[in-house]
Symmetry: D2
Subunit: 345 residues, 4 copies
């Protein structure tokens, strides 16, 4: 059994990790860190866990955590930086759900996060944990920068066109819609039920940090420097991201041809499901699962591909992918513990 | 492996069964019956199943179904009656999710369902599959009448007070609120999104069929003939039933005492979770799970117990309990395949 | 034109007042008090008011407010007590939306609110502003205790049976369901979108303050001391309260007879709509309006009336009724400015 | 008083018309046409109208309708074509909410609607009723093609950049999100509550009819033939459309400059509200009102404007704009009866 610690266990990404790990057949949950709820049982903070998991939440205690094999750090951006070097030094593998270890270039991090990076040497070593693109490096990594939710959805949606040279790269637009769990459990007026329900809005246009993460990966895939428009929206549902991606094609293609390109590109990827021409994904098809569903329409009038990519933002976009990373790092079947159908209902 | 057939697989109860069974370690899904979608793959009808389950839905074919060990029948009320005798004759165990096999007294069925019963001899043999109350009979049953959603929630919420003689029985009121999956997938104006969202209503006051099911079981527990008020309400959410039950006590008791009574009564029941005094259940604690959460408040001014009982209507209230029944009938650990925490999010 | 001040204008009851008053033909909004948003225009705090109302929110300034004819005080329970005596002394009429001036008996207030009353002499003078029951006293009142949302809905639902002597009074149960605007705009984890949506729960069973308000009014109507069970629930919608009220009848009656009793009792009440036998109200029928919709079912098996009463909690249950009170106090047609159909959609 | 008929009164656009007209001070509702509910009172079909409007719904009766001054036709696409010529001949003004009379070029209509146009001569005469752009022609029109919901929102969002020559016209992308009222009241599995809630999806990519309407108007504004990408999405709310519009600028500009351009362009338009730089619109700011809220961000890295435009799809996007058209046609103040703040809550 793999002994795991979850730090930041009572946030939404954290508790989804706990939920997934609690039925993972190869895992033993040993430590749950929570600043806000230390001293309380997890089954009191999230009463859905009564009779399932009774562990007490604790302040971070490095000595105790050191007995684990792997730590998932779902701490506020920045907070994880002080803890993670210690854990690495003590020999744990770390899968970090913050933005701190997702970058190839420290300058990009510092530009978009508006702060100095506190562990540049670890950043250099860390692996970007987008499993479908970086599986080989993940296998031997000590430290994973687990990708953002918007970024997982958007990068996987665009990857084949860029990797295979079908895309004109100067007018790529990603228009993304996210459920409210993506905003986390912190209190803010914007997330009050009466402010969220029956409401849709865009936010952080042209400035959202995930822009830089998407650009980094698409640039690598295309072999050139790419800048995109990325617009996040908040929609009145809990789970789900749907990215609508607009990419001009550099020569004429049909929907069927591009769908076939995608099927070939992802043919060995269990968690990526490409729709046949004429079908489109919906967030309810992936909610509660680790799947990425992608549909394609080529607008032949404009020679433009419109790609719709959808994931569950806290599953494949956070906790589920973190477990997928763990499975890869520990040599398990990648699907272990995350091989379930979505909720739909 | 237990070979199972699900008839009526594409309704909401049916597809929840398929979802649960698809990750049940001792089950092999062999046959999916669907009148509306025969010829289509289940993963096309419910695209959350793509890569998980690829079986084609078929019209009912008794010869093919006969190869199974057990059939779950989630057919419209009445429709199951013609199929079930045949399946029983061919040696299958049957767990029926309709109302047809839930009654001890055929007259009660015919009075509330306004139709003749077509298989009286099977009704006489069938066992009411409320696992926590009838486990022993379920073990050896060939035919289970799987309980209704409202009834599971309400009976388990009231049972200890009646079984242990704490209740005055002439003013029992069950005020129940249900999510919309309880209404099924059929089309009706009342279930159009714009008619349901931001709306709450009561319906079928004093005439809902589940009244008779609750009365049957509470009467048996109390050892006397009981009539109750039962009022169902439709609330704007998918999953969840919450029953608020009002029972006058026949002598003075505190909340703590009644909570303790409940804990004792259900001390061996894994799927029943009794809240400590001062805590109350919420539907999100049970959504996506087989748990029944029960909270108690005694209003000492009135010497009246207010019991709040909640389940997921399509899990413990339908598909999950059906699997729990199967586990009992086949000698498996009762929790097999349904021992997960609820979704919460 | 009636010059009005709204104190606490940026809470949910306050802003609904502003919305209604902004299209009231006989009103001029002169002052908007808001502690949290003083210095900001109301059209910035609630951007739906841009081009409609551009007044700046201010800290309470008694001299400026004194120029008004009437003040609506939608301040936190307790806070209004210090301001209101001053306004009354300066000659304004005051319609207070807190619980402070709703009680006939100061002891009841102090018992349920767990604090001393700071203005007992004003409490003695104040009038309980349930328009349909106390219209005559409202006409000449200087200070109105505007009723609570649950109480308006529940009292009007039960009144005819008690006033006309049809009710047994010892087993009255009010099971009420409320949308989330009823909880106000304050931040709390319980009102985070992700905690509220897809969730229903009961709260404050047997201890909610509105219990005492309902009991006060039902006791007066019945001419005897009545204690009831009152159970509030939170449901995942913004607007709407639906109270399901159980009252044993002291002799046999049909649904039609009781419906007729209600129609007679409310025959001059424009804002009360009694459903014909066989029809039941829904919250979407009243959302955004000042109407109270009431449906009746007599369960003849039990000789028990089940009354379903519904209002919009922040309209008839708060802001709309406050305006109705103002209309009565200033001799306007009672319907002025609040005579619109509900939203439905 | 203007005598009005509403044909198709019981669909969602129709009933919103009835709701608005029922409190319009210059209107008398004389005829409500409804095929599905003929013979029933409107207050039975939509019970929010009880005590407000008691008219019976009828099958279309041209003689009776002929007594009116104006008819709003909210009939299924195509059905209105047979009725409208008759009404025009009888001297009524007609405001048609279908797509039949929105086109300058019959070929465009026939290409996108896949059917012959049945009244080409009326199409030639009809005026496209986007009030902010075609007010002068509307004044004297007999027949208005009331714009689509997506189109109103999207055209007004893009108009200033195109009219003023700031836009590169070859990469215009409109990514639009709509509430479910936009789909109408007809029954379909896709609009079942349980299929819609907690779900977002794109549909009819590159083929939605509103594409052609947007292209027609943007082309006229720009003085050149424009083709765009238009992607509609369905989001889990009742009211509201939010269009996110991407337009490359043909020279460098700041957000402030473009916001100023918009403010100038719409400086006389009461119903268009331009956000200051740094602010963005939300659907809840416009729900229940006739306003169009528009926010602007210029992504200076890409020299691309991202415009967010939002309306209430059944108010400004259908019924409210229809009333605005009527006001203009009958010489009333354009704001009459539609000058209310949005609901927000």
């Amino acid at each position: 059994m793999i002994k795991v610690a979850v730090l930041g266990a009572t946030g939404y990404a954290g508790i989804e990790l706990v939920r997934i790990l609690s039925s993972h057949p190869e895992v033993s949950i040993e430590f749950l860190g929570s600043k806000s709820f230390s001293g309380q049982k997890i089954s009191q903070v999230y009463q859905n866990f009564e009779h399932i998991l009774d562990i007490e939440c604790k302040e971070i205690d490095l000595d105790e955590i050191a007995k684990c094999d792997v730590a998932f750090t779902a701490l506020p951006h920045g907070a994880s930086k002080t803890v993670i070097p210690d854990l690495i030094n003590r020999g744990l593998k770390v899968i970090d759900l913050s933005g701190d270890f997702r970058y190839d270039d420290i300058k990009v991090y510092e530009q978009w996060y508006k702060q100095e990076h506190s562990a540049p040497e670890l950043l250099a070593e860390s692996v970007y944990g987008l499993c479908e693109l970086h599986r080989d490096k993940i296998k031997s990594a000590r430290l994973i920068g687990n990708p953002g939710c918007y970024t997982t959805c958007s990068i996987l949606g665009a990857a084949p066109l860029l990797a295979k040279g079908y895309a004109k790269t100067d007018n790529i637009i990603v228009d993304a819609k996210s459920g409210v769990t993506g905003a986390g459990r912190g209190l803010a007026l914007a997330y009050h039920f009466c402010e969220c329900t029956e409401n849709t809005k865009a936010y952080k246009i042209a400035t959202h940090r995930h822009t830089s993460e998407i650009e980094q990966e698409l640039s690598k895939l295309a072999g050139e420097n790419i800048m995109i428009s990325f617009t996040p929206h908040l929609i009145p549902q809990k789970r789900g991201i749907l990215s609508t991606i607009y990419i001009n094609l550099n020569q004429k293609h049909t929907t069927e041809e591009i769908a076939e390109l995608y099927k070939q590109y992802y043919k060995d990827e269990y968690f990526v499901r490409i729709k046949d021409a004429g079908q489109l994904p919906e967030t309810k098809h992936v909610a509660g699962s680790n799947f990425v569903d992608i549909g394609i329409v080529v607008d032949e009038r404009l020679n433009r591909a419109v790609i719709v990519s959808t994931i569950d933002n806290i599953f494949k976009g956070a906790a589920g992918q973190a477990v997928q990373n763990m499975n890869i790092m520990f040599g398990l079947d990648e699907k272990t513990g995350i091989d379930n159908a979505g909720f739909y209902l």
